[in-house]
């Protein structure tokens, strides 16, 4: 008989249940299968009512983040072979409200992300005739790491500060703010300062550092936050010592 592995998957059907429960499924074990393959097998062959998000299945879209055996993981990049002989527990990303089964509600993250203006802010656009905004490889290198973020929210599911204080802007949003702050074409650092320097911004972070450890794209949000703490402190001293320069 072919080898199998047991998956314990969170089920939550709000029209029927008050609280999530676990349902176990027996799926074939294949060496080249990731957890997402097993979920797709369940959906196709065993139980079409299971709900979960996925799209690219190659670590780019950031949709398939779930808790696998208690760790935030991209299920498309988490091989079943690492969990043999099983069982493997698959749960929705923790610290987010659950909509159904493995699907979480992410509006909170979307609102926070938008609040830090993660786009290039210009005080004045230069005329088209002057051509594009050029950048040297060095200038690109300063922010490139932060630009790798795919908004998968694994860092939020790893962050106890976000768990205890949901007002915290959170790792990915701050890393993406830094991505634009450090972009030589951007002029929006001052506008972002007010949002990031609040208590719910960088100062809520106690530097547990787990966001960086779980990040599938090596973005290092914990580093971004600590670096911004330094920037914010410098700005505060500047405005304190030179009040006439404050806005």
């Amino acid at each position: 008989m072919a080898e199998t592995i047991t998956l314990e998957v969170t089920r939550y059907r709000p029209e029927r249940e008050r609280e999530p429960t676990f349902q176990t499924y027996e799926v074939p074990f294949r060496k080249d299968w990731v957890v997402l393959d097993a979920l797709n097998y369940i959906k196709d062959r065993l139980d079409g009512s299971l709900s979960y998000r996925w799209s690219c299945r190659m670590g780019v879209c950031g949709s398939c983040g779930m808790m696998v055996d208690g760790e935030p993981k991209l299920t498309c990049a988490t091989f079943l072979s690492g969990y043999m002989p099983g069982p493997v527990r698959v749960e929705p990303l923790q610290y987010f409200p659950v909509v159904r089964d493995l699907v979480i509600e992410m509006t909170d993250f979307m609102v926070k992300l938008k609040s830090v203006k993660p786009w290039i802010v210009r005080q004045e656009e230069k005329p088209l005739s002057e051509g594009e905004y050029l950048q040297t490889p060095d200038q690109l290198d300063t922010y490139k790491q932060f630009s790798m973020c795919i908004n998968c929210m694994l860092c939020y599911a790893a962050c106890p500060v976000y768990a205890l204080d949901p007002r915290f802007i959170g790792p990915a949003a701050i890393a993406l703010a830094q991505r634009y702050n450090q972009d030589s074409r951007d002029q929006g650092a001052e506008e972002r300062l007010d949002i990031l320097s609040q208590h719910e911004g960088i100062w809520a972070c106690t530097f547990v550092g787990e966001c960086t450890k779980v990040c599938p794209k090596n973005v290092d949000p914990a580093g971004a936050i600590q670096q911004y703490k330094l920037t914010s402190t410098k700005e505060w001293f500047k405005s304190f010592l030179m009040p006439w320069r404050a806005k």
């Binding site: 939550y12 409200p97 106690t206």
Partner: protein, 138 residues
């Protein structure tokens, strides 16, 4: 499961899990973090001890002699040794976190981590040498 479906009229019924008071016990990284935070109480203890020492010094030779006698109690020696250990843990881990917060770039490249850590150690050694010179000369 067999109950009739209950639909909410306007809003989906999200499930929000409560965060347990013991959230830190579930993961070694969280526990390590909490233990480090808790141990900073020893750092505070050292600060208070220094204040008491300054007060004793202000109280004249007699008060200072009493303070010194008090510090010789075995239990205080043990407590101070333990506190010194935690102060060192905090100082060293702090040094090694410094490169995270300081992304210094020179000639288009990020300065390697050890070059950020090293000046911390040098400053520490220099401060210790100055203190040793002040205390041990004569």
């Amino acid at each position: 499961m067999n109950e009739a479906p209950v639909y909410t009229k306007y809003h989906p019924r999200w499930y929000r899990a409560r965060v347990s008071t013991y959230w830190w016990s579930r993961r070694w990284a969280y526990l390590k973090f909490i233990l480090r935070e808790l141990s900073s109480i020893f750092v505070a203890y050292f600060a208070i001890l220094t204040l008491l020492q300054v007060r004793a010094l202000g109280g004249g030779p007699e008060a200072y002699a009493r303070f010194q006698a008090w510090m010789k109690a075995p239990i205080l020696i043990a407590l101070n040794a333990l506190s010194l250990f935690f102060v060192l843990v905090h100082a060293l881990t702090w040094f090694h976190l410094a490169p995270k917060a300081m992304a210094v770039r020179m000639r288009g490249r990020r300065v390697p981590d050890f070059l950020i850590v090293l000046p911390n150690y040098i400053a520490w050694l220099a401060a210790s040498a100055i203190l040793a010179w002040l205390l041990l000369r004569r």
